[in-house]
Each structure stands twice: as C-alpha cells, then as structure tokens.
Symmetry: C2
Subunit: 529 residues, 2 copies
Amino acid sequence: MSDLVHPVLINGQWKNSAGTSTFQASDPQTRSPLEAQYPVSPWGEVKETLQAAHQAANELKEISPSQIAEFLDEYANRIEDSEDDLIAIANQETALPEEPRLRSVELPRTTSQLRSAASAAKKGSWNLPTIDTSLQIRSIYRAIGPVCVFGPNNFPFAFNSIAGGDFAAAIAAGNPVIAKGNTSHPGTTEIFAKAANAAVTSTKMPKGLVQLLYRTSHQDGERLVSHPLLGATGYTGSRQAGLILKSAADRSGKPIYLELSSINPILILPGALKERQDDIIDDLSSSILLGTGQFCTSPGLIILVESPAADTFVSELGLRMGKTPPGVLLGAGVQKSLIEGIRELETAGAQTIIGGLAIDDPNKGFCIENTLLQVNGTSFLMRPEDFQRETFGNSSLVVRARDFEEFKAIIGSLEGNLTGSIYSHSQGIDDLLYNEAESLLRPKVGRLLNDKMPTGVAVSPAMNHGGPFPATGHPGFTAVGIPASLLRFSALQCYDNVRQHRLPLELQDKNPTGHTWRLIDGTWTQADI
Amino acid sequence: MSDLVHPVLINGQWKNSAGTSTFQASDPQTRSPLEAQYPVSPWGEVKETLQAAHQAANELKEISPSQIAEFLDEYANRIEDSEDDLIAIANQETALPEEPRLRSVELPRTTSQLRSAASAAKKGSWNLPTIDTSLQIRSIYRAIGPVCVFGPNNFPFAFNSIAGGDFAAAIAAGNPVIAKGNTSHPGTTEIFAKAANAAVTSTKMPKGLVQLLYRTSHQDGERLVSHPLLGATGYTGSRQAGLILKSAADRSGKPIYLELSSINPILILPGALKERQDDIIDDLSSSILLGTGQFCTSPGLIILVESPAADTFVSELGLRMGKTPPGVLLGAGVQKSLIEGIRELETAGAQTIIGGLAIDDPNKGFCIENTLLQVNGTSFLMRPEDFQRETFGNSSLVVRARDFEEFKAIIGSLEGNLTGSIYSHSQGIDDLLYNEAESLLRPKVGRLLNDKMPTGVAVSPAMNHGGPFPATGHPGFTAVGIPASLLRFSALQCYDNVRQHRLPLELQDKNPTGHTWRLIDGTWTQADI
C-alpha cells in the first residue's frame, strides 16, 4: 500500500497497513473528500492487534491501578497539548463549530472524563470489593480482557473510540483497548492515538495498551467482537450495524455494550403548557437543534394532548425552529438517512409543519431545513413502530393525542429509550396525570427527567446513559458516569479460602489506599479488617 | 384434558390445562414412571401467564419492599409446614437421600435463602442507591418486570424454579415470577407452588406474583423468553437447551442469565501432593461423589504433573472411589448422557481407571459405577474441547501433564468454568508455580479456591456462583449470594431533576429505613441528606 496512506497503530508501532483498499473522510462544509487516505485493515492485522492486546492484558496484571491512573492523567495532559490540532481537524471532519462546542465543551469534557477515570482507578471503590470475614470468601470486579471500542460519528472527542467515555472506562478498569475509529473523523482519531501512544511510552505502560485500526470489513468486525482473545466490546452507532455485531458477540458469549438509537420522548402535560409555554418552546427548540440534532439524547418525539394551547405551542415551536439557521450535518450519510427518515414519516402519515427538505446549496455543506412534523395520536397508534423511526439530525415529530387516554396509549406503545422527559405544572396541578404518565414511561427509559431537556448528559456517578433495548443491549449498564461505567468492562471474581498474600490488594485485610470503599460483612467501610 | 392431569397455576388459580399432551416423572430408584400426570401447556396458556405477570408487575409498583419481604418470610414458614410432604416426594422423584441431603441441608438452605432475600428487600441496599446532590441526579436498580425461571433437575429445593435462588432473587427485586418447573420433579414443584400461592393470598400480594407451568414446547419456551411482556429469564440446566433460549432472548434484547455447564478444574501442585496426599484423596473422592456427582460445581477435571507421587495418588483415588457404593442418578436421561459422555472421553483417548459402565440391576435404580478416567496432557492438548465434555454425574477425568510447561498449557486451553481450585503446599514451596498457574486459571473461573473443593456454595454476599461463558452467559453476575444475585433481575433507573416527592423512597433525602446503604456524593452512608 502506498506510503501516502496513513499507518495504523499496532503494539506501540505506527505501521503501514497490509490492506489493499482505502477510504477518505469528507469535509461536511464543502462536501469534498479530504486528501488523507486511511486503510481498511485485513483480518491478519486485526488478529495482530488482538494478540498484542492479549499480551498487554497479561502485563497489566502486574501494573498497579495508580500506574494506570498516571497513564490516563498523562494522556489528558497530552491531549491538551494537541488541543489546537485536534480542534482544527475535528472541525474540518465533522463541521461541529469550534466554539463553544469543540473547544469549550467537548474537549474539556473529554480530558475531564479521562481524569475522573484515573481517579476512580486509583481509589479502587468502583469494583465493589466485598468481603465475608467469617467464611473467608471475598469478591471483586476485575479487568475482563481486551476491549474493542467502536466510536460514533457525533462526538469526535468525548465518545472517540480512543479517547472517549468507553475508552476511559475500559482502561481504568484495567483493560487494553483496540480502538475501531469512526470513519467520518479518522484524522481526529489519529491525533488522539499519537498522544495516547506517547503517553503509553512515557508512563511505561504495555505497548499494546492502546491500538488503532481505522476500518475493517463488516465480516472482520464480527470476527473481532466474538474472538476468544477479546474481553468485551463497547459500541455506539447505528442500530443496524450494532445489531449485527451484537448477534456475533452474543453467539460467542462475549459481552457487548451497545448504544444504538433513541428518540427521547418529551411529554408535555397541560398545566405546564399553560404555565410556561414560552420557556418550553425555548428549551425544546434549542435542544432539538443542539449540535444540529445529532445527539443520542436529542428530543425526537414530543407528545401532548390536543387543545387550543397545544395548537399555539406547535405552531410557535415550528416558527422558532424555522427562524434558526440550520447547522451542517456530519456527512453525506447522515443527510441521506435523515431525508429518508423524514420521507418515511410522511409516508406513514406525518405532516410536515416546517422544513423537510435537503438544502441543495453546495456552499452550505450537508444541510437540511430545520424540520418539525406532526401526527395525530390515532394515526401514531396504528403504526407506532413506523413513527418511532429515529431521524438523526435536526428534525422532530410532534404527536397530538386526542385526550389523556390516547396520550397514555402512546406512551404505552413506546420502545426502549435512553431518556424520557415530563414537563408538568410547577404547583402540582398536573400531578395526577404525572403519576399515570410516569408509571408508563419509567420502565421504557434509562433516565427520567422533570422539566428539563435530555441533551445534557452530566458525567455524574448517578448518571444513567443507558436504557432498555433497543436503546442499548442491556438495561443494567451505563455508558456515562464514573465509576459505574467501568463495571461494563469487568468480570466478577471471587476468592474462596485463598491465602491472604495471594489476594488482590483490594481484598486483603488492610485497606489498600486507606480510603477505598469496601463492603465488609454487610457494612460499607474505608477501614482495615 | 382429563381431570387426572394436575392443574397449572395461573393468576392465583389452579386451572386444568388446555394442553392435549402430558408427561410423567419417574422414580429413579425403581426406574418406573410415577402415576401423576402433568400437562404440556400450549402457547395460549403461556400468554395468559405473561399477561397476569405483567398485571402483577404493575401492581407491585405500589407495594413496599417490606410487604414483599413479608410474603417471602410467610412462604418460608409455609414451606416448613410442608416439610415432610416435600421431602417424601422429592426423594421419590430425584432419589436424593432424605438425610442428610434433603432434610438437613437442602430444605434449610432453601428457606434460609428466602429469608435472606426478604431481609435484603427490606433493607434496600442491594439496589445501590446513588445520589449526586449538587446535580440533582439520582439512580437506583429497580424491578425489571416479570421473570421466567427455569430450574434444574439436581436441586429440587434450593434451585427449584418456584422456591430456589433465582426465584428468591427475582421476587426480592420486586418482580413476579413465571416458574417453568423442571420436568423431573413436578410433584415437588407443585407442593411449593401451593405453599407459595397460599402465602400470596395471606399476605395480599398480586395474584399473578407466582405462577407455575410444568412444561411447554421448545418453540414456546423461545417465545416466552423473548416476549415483550417479559423482563428477564433465569435458567439453570443443560448447555444445549440453554443456548437455544439464549439465542432467542438475545435477539429480542431480553436479559437472560444462564448457568450452563462447568467441569470445575482441580489443580494439584507437587508440594501439596507430597505434603497431604491422603487428605486430598479424601476431599476429592467425597466431592466427586457428593450427590452422585450431580452438582454444578462437581470436580470433573483433575490436573497434575506426572511423578511417582502422582501415580500413587491417581491409583489411590481410583481405589477409594471404587470402594464407595455408587449413588442413584436423577433419572434415565442423566444416566444415558453420563454413559455417552464417558464413551466419548474414551473414544477421544481417555483410559478408564475404574468404573465406566452402567449398572443394569433394575433393583438399584439408575446407576453407573463410580468412574475415574485419565489422559496424558499431550493427548488432552490435541483435543481440549473433546476432553472438556461435561460428564454430569459420578465421573471425573484426571489429566497427567508431562511437566509444568504442559500443565500450564492445559490450564490455558480451559473453557470458562464456575470454579477452579488450586491445592498447594501449606508452607509456600509451591508458590512460584502457584503464581503462574493462578494467572492462567483466574480469568477462566468465577470462583477461585485454595486447598478446598468447590462443591460447597455458601450463600454469602461475597459468593460468585457465575463465571465466563460457557459456564454462564455473562461473567458479571452471580446466581448465588444475596444481595448481589438480585441485581440480575433489575434495570438501572436514573432520575434527573425529578421533584423530591416523586422519587422512589430510597432516593428521597430521608433514608427510608434509617439503615439503607446509599452512595451519596461518593460516600457510602446510612444517613439522611
């Protein structure tokens, strides 16, 4: 392969790929392909990364959590050193604005996640050390083995396969990562990989701790997630590709954590509409259009009960969205899929209030008009699956229920989602309706919000960025929030009658840090035994 | 269907099944079918249980954990009231001895599990309430919805689908249970179901809290575990049937927790053999033959390094096993499969040291001779999968490694197991070998033991009765040990900016019991906020 093709990172070395095909990313603002060529790695190369990761996993057993934390901190520092380069290329590859998005929001979030993960690794409480002193049985969650991370297109930093939340969680839990870069921002990913590899070297970590492949065949992706040497997979992306990987991983018994799709229903109760319609329109239009609607938690479905106030609300919301200039989408694929989604909603019976068309001005990049559609509840309930098609981008669907009974039936027909929001009157006028709506919505969403849009996903220990299938693959895990997100990349390991000096430090009588939380004989404590 | 066919328990009512086919259990001691006929339920009946369970799940939302605990305690009391009946019929259906097994060990364990689960439900710490006071984000693990439990043949009480560990965990986590009884002990299961239903009535629980079907078609089993109204499944049984259910559940994104098969390797290091050969022979022969070897944690593979001491050990172990009278197996199917397994091991190249044949004396019930086989390490490594075939029953395979390198290669070739034991010299002579062996064995097993047989599975908060695939379906969960086993039957639910009075009690500022453990701003505490 030509020297012009960018190399892949395997076992600490940047190597020319043995692959024979390549791909290029595009600049969504100019719709032109970017010059840099990246390789499609053949199976032999994937296997090489697996073997190096397996070796690294073995070496990691001898490395302390605080050394792992040093690596994560050092990597965060190096990312800050490369800040300008990262922002420039991410802006070019994704069209996400430099300010405030890339520089003031997403990059600081990324380094902060890495540092929080470092701190969680050092503290050691994430792994729930549990000790039964009378029976001499002790257990703990520990590293599961090499983790493959598939990053999404919409967060080139904070969910990047080699720098984002899954990466940070997998490393902090003690695992090597094989990053499968998102093909829409390979240049961004490459800069991260250089910083990561430099941090690997300077903190003397195993060479195979962090590796990067840009692309493989779909078949090789399936082989990768189901390979005996792999521990687990973290995937964020389209439902279709995710389900194919899930099926392969499931067959081989390899854990795979997926974040697939979500339309994040917003329920607006009558009292709230009456009390603060303008505020809700502000919140909602901003949230729908944030990042050109390309958030996993973007509100794609707004449900309300028919009324004159609802009429006004919907038309005002449309006007507001129409006045906002549409942002540039992440790429041609996103634009195409979004337009297809809108056409499918229309075919199913939705009516376009505003927007709905692609903007065919090459100077404007990949854009569509800000789009708001509506459908009545009766039509929705005839084809609930069709109307829950995710339109990833700056588009949302309003469902107008005839009455509260229909409103409840609509909630009852919802699929699993990451989030669900309920807006209600601040003085309790809606509380009876709230109770009924909440009881139907609660089991369908990972995070339930009151009077708040779901697009902010705080990195809090109490966060759940997860939810029932098909939003994710398992309702018991979160992809955001430290330390809980680390548990995905670990296995429960029990020690029965094992001699004291052979136990992991966290399970020995003495508290390894003096402040690690351990559940000893039913009591959470930071004390020694 | 004839009135002679025993009824099924649906939504609190004992009803004649609409099914047209029936089955009978057998007495393993006489090899004769028992008189009682039990129905194979058609899909309509399965659907009816699903709907009743769904209704019960909704009703449970309004029922406090302490009421659930009352039910569990009351059920445990009623089981004790039925003790003699349970023991008589379980003995008849399984041939497991009344004493000590059924009366002094398994029944007390069963009621104790139910009471521990009650206590965990009441205390409320199992669900890891996590609160971020500054961001007003709070999360907790909560009921996942109706749980279907498939119980195994080998523990008619402690793992019974309607009384065992999965049942207790699912109920304590706030879910209704649809029990799919094991077809080898329907009469035992029926008595439990009567006690459970009486406890449902007397503690005023939802009618559909506990339901029982004895059998369905395989196809309907797949529909059940993947049904939209189901929350999750707990399955303990054969690998083959389990993997079919897993595939159906995985496709629909429904969590399924499986305990499939395990051969529980025992590694004996040279120093241990030298130091206490006789003790190890005692332990090992008892453990292999406990319950006629029909334990999920029965030691099916013994690995040691060739030496004159190893020669003596193996022949002494064989002699000891040969002197012990063989127990009666659970049924014709177990006997057939065990004999087939032994033949397959022999075909693969194993040599029978003692036993190996079925005992064809109708007066002795379903028996085979206590069986010990051996194979050299080189042969094992040529066909490691064939030699890891589980022989469920009173049979075990010794692998004799040429040297320590081969010993390690054998460990490296092992599949996932529930347990792995290492016997080593008490004064540290084996410690270097231990370290190498442990590093290879640890990632392959859920519970690692020192100098101890794995057949005792204590109900401890620190227990892990789980392990990597194919021992189970996911290495992060345990089927034994309260409260951890409850987490399998829950979903992570987050509340973001939700008003105080709308939060679950466990997440409100005031500690709901005064002693529930909650992680508040990074600190585990029993205090209020």
